[in-house]
Point group: C2
Chain length 598, copies 2
Amino acid sequence: MASQTVVALQDEVNRLKIQLQSLAEQDSSQKIRVGDYLLARLEQLGANSMFGVPGDFNLGFLDLVEDHPSIEWIGNCNELNAAYAADGYARVKSNSIGVILTTFGVGELSAMNGIAGAFSEMVPVLHIVGVPSTVQQKSKPMLHHTLGDGRFDAYEKAAEQFTISQAILKDPNTAAAEIDRVLTDCITSARPVYLTLPTDLVYTEISSTQLRIPLSRSPPPNDQDVEKFVLDEIVKLVETVDNDAIFLVDACAIRHDVRDELDEMIRKTGFPVYSAPMGKTAVSEQYERYGGIYVGSISHPEIKEKVESAKLIISIGSLKTDFNTGNFTYSIPTDNIIELHSTWTKVQYADFANVGMKELIPKLSARLHPYQEGARQYDVPKFVADVPKELNDVISQAWFWPTMNTFFRPQDVIVAETGTSSFGILDVPLPERSIFVSQILWGSIGWSVGSTLGAALAARDLGLGRTILFVGDGSLQLTVQELSSMMRRGVKPIIFVLNNEGYTIERFLHGWERQYNDINNWKWTSLLSTLGDADGVLSRSYTVNNKQELTALLGDADFAKADKMQLVEVMMPKHDAPRALQVQAELSGKTNKYVGGS
Amino acid sequence: MASQTVVALQDEVNRLKIQLQSLAEQDSSQKIRVGDYLLARLEQLGANSMFGVPGDFNLGFLDLVEDHPSIEWIGNCNELNAAYAADGYARVKSNSIGVILTTFGVGELSAMNGIAGAFSEMVPVLHIVGVPSTVQQKSKPMLHHTLGDGRFDAYEKAAEQFTISQAILKDPNTAAAEIDRVLTDCITSARPVYLTLPTDLVYTEISSTQLRIPLSRSPPPNDQDVEKFVLDEIVKLVETVDNDAIFLVDACAIRHDVRDELDEMIRKTGFPVYSAPMGKTAVSEQYERYGGIYVGSISHPEIKEKVESAKLIISIGSLKTDFNTGNFTYSIPTDNIIELHSTWTKVQYADFANVGMKELIPKLSARLHPYQEGARQYDVPKFVADVPKELNDVISQAWFWPTMNTFFRPQDVIVAETGTSSFGILDVPLPERSIFVSQILWGSIGWSVGSTLGAALAARDLGLGRTILFVGDGSLQLTVQELSSMMRRGVKPIIFVLNNEGYTIERFLHGWERQYNDINNWKWTSLLSTLGDADGVLSRSYTVNNKQELTALLGDADFAKADKMQLVEVMMPKHDAPRALQVQAELSGKTNKYVGGS
């Protein structure tokens, strides 16, 4: 394998050559409108869906989007849902980005929670905002969508808190460079960026030459001397512990896209592999040396014992959040940990800057290959989902999740809402090449519905399998209108709505019988016909009241082939939760106690 | 009438006396939990509904809310809708405030557009955010709902852009003073404020003594010398123009609550009165000397002529936004204008600080009373809505709005969504003591649906009449789930859904036949049964396809009595808009042109 440094340098050389050439040709270069320049970049990045809501400051740009041959305008029901959809799209379509377009003030602020979630969870999303003309931004009239006090920069200031980089376009001469700068930040740091597009710049013509230079995705090359030292250290430690080492895969392995490198490493070296919740499906859950999910004290006892008794843990892309670590209950001494991150590495107590995992993993893979026989001496618990034998016919959480195991297929995209669903599915091994999508750090309820729209569109682009969503009745109410956009755009997710009468995760945290955790019960099986399928040709809806009905539905080939959009209302008890959620709630309750509360 | 200065001083004396007394009693004072202190203040302010969504950092406080005898927890479907509802509540319930409770990060950011709208439109809203404990805010663990980088203050920083004042509670010793400070700012500046409530402070006990001192609503007293000078100047001008003066009433007359003072002044002095769109219903639209709505060049020709030919215009609470002024087309020389504002006055070219209208108007009223005979020489056009004779049966915009005129009753609360509805209703005179609610400056589509929930609850508190909403199909999709909360809380608005196949206001601005202005057509008459009225006992839904069907429905006494929630789908042509919107769109199109766009 050619060293990444060489590749990066070669890229740089090519870029500089084209830049020189383009300067020479400048006068004769082809002109392109600023709006089209932006679209050309998005096309290069494989962003074939654009989410958002029209508004009077973005309509001119929307003409260009609607006329673009390979970018589809999705047109969401509201901006928050659009942001969630852009996030879901980017999570499934690796190496691309999610794009949302909103209008000045009212639109962009509605999307803010979705953008902040992408920041928190490291998802590359571009937020384009159509804003008043550069002339109006100087004269500051009291336009609609303004705060009435002339502060035209208030929205940007808020956006700075939740985006890694911002471009406030003002000048056609710098527009291309500004667009390229934020897009490069977006793809290299896997975080949202913010771009304003004034009405009078959209059709302004600029040189298109720069477009011949693709945007660079390469992370900065590793420092070779430090990298060599780190590799030696790691190998030494593996030898010291007599191969009693494991890999623990986490969120950033997905966000910084080292899945292929990881797959090669785990197979070539044979060390046991476990995953944190946010790393689920970063490596195959069907791989024989994969042992399941480690979540600190919330883990299954056997997994907990295996992980915590290993003498060395090579953690890849870890993100130690409360819900990802069993409320910070990792019981692993720092002596035993090596951490690989996107731009740095930590060996025991020592930090090494400029040694990123994308380049390191293939080398580590080669260096640890010789130890595979020793590595394979150590057992890995089989990661299986046992369906418990229950005497009644109620659909319990303990029975539901392992039962779903039989329904999943390779390449399915499985989206789980924060709460009952994200905790419940942890213990279910997912198929080969399936993709698990959840928002475990940010945890904004309702996110999964918008996200499913984006995920399903990305899955369609990539030719993946079905998109399957698990969402509670309480969460679905926040963002329900996006079911309409799914039918409108012809995607066909299967949506399991867990009807358990309200905010169950909260009941377990506080307010077991409180009314504020109740919701209004909806006629869930009428939703799809009401929200766009009046003729009943685009969708099917079901209610399953007991184990038998659910089992029958899952076994129905017509249902499983997902040729229409489908919604399944699953009747479940109000005061039931998956094991992992029950334990998590107990732990969070202790740290966040209301003294004297009921 | 006692001078306001004397009243203010007397208030101050009483406050100081109680403070002294409370200091003396401190040891024996009754203790109250911080959360209950806040609720006691809200009760004093008449805020009997609290909007929001539960989340794990606000559950402890919600126990106190749920147990409170006079504050009802509304429990919205999502936070943006909750913010809109708090805004609608505050608009209808003068002298009170709207209150929204959300959770850290995910919840508060979802509400941000609603809060920014309240800022822009000057609506007093308190945003309470349940946040992690003071201990966690110091140690900054990677909790769910955080950005993952330890920036626990990022949300406050964003909130600073859209609230007039913030209190970040950290210390029980200052909690009461901090709560009082932001609430006072909220009621005196009629703008939103932000308050964080850490989990560990909610039940901490503090002294309740301060509660005996009601929060002061009084604006700062006017400077008496300047005020006298201003009054003399105004009277002199009225004499100079030989009584050819008019009043022009606008938004801030409502926001700073001078409706009673105004009513007295217009009746006592007899000068003609007109209103800007945002001042609609600030004075009675049935008053014989009221001439209708002035919107610059968009006005009806007769109104435009009368207003612009008057030699002196006394404007009250003006807010010169684009949509409020016919795109800045007031054709009135500054020589002819006197502006009364909440804290200052402008006479022709001269600004006078510290002369606020609340105190000034009663004095001006007395000073201008002698001129009433002269004032009444000048004619006022009759403000009536003429139903045009149309030969076809299509429900046109030109026919629809004046027809609605016959349906309204005194004390109705009439909410109009931004767009077709807010423009269409301008030319319809509303009944005595009716309240018009619209968001003409901020203009966030979807706002009216959440707002109607709040408006209807406020109307119930005040014993007003029916709440009637006009909303387009496109706008309703953004916030549709809040229909569920209306049925759940037992309010019974009448909702006219204008089904005209998408974003009509935008078609008139740009993209006449563009697909991005289309929406998915829903089965509107199934919405209420799907979203909470499965048994069909709480609501009724109708579709009216033509003039005859609408006329029949409006004449139906059962429909008009509004004893259930009702939704009326009104079928209207896709490319039709009220006169005022058509002209406005033409004007905005010119200033915001996309050169070369289709």
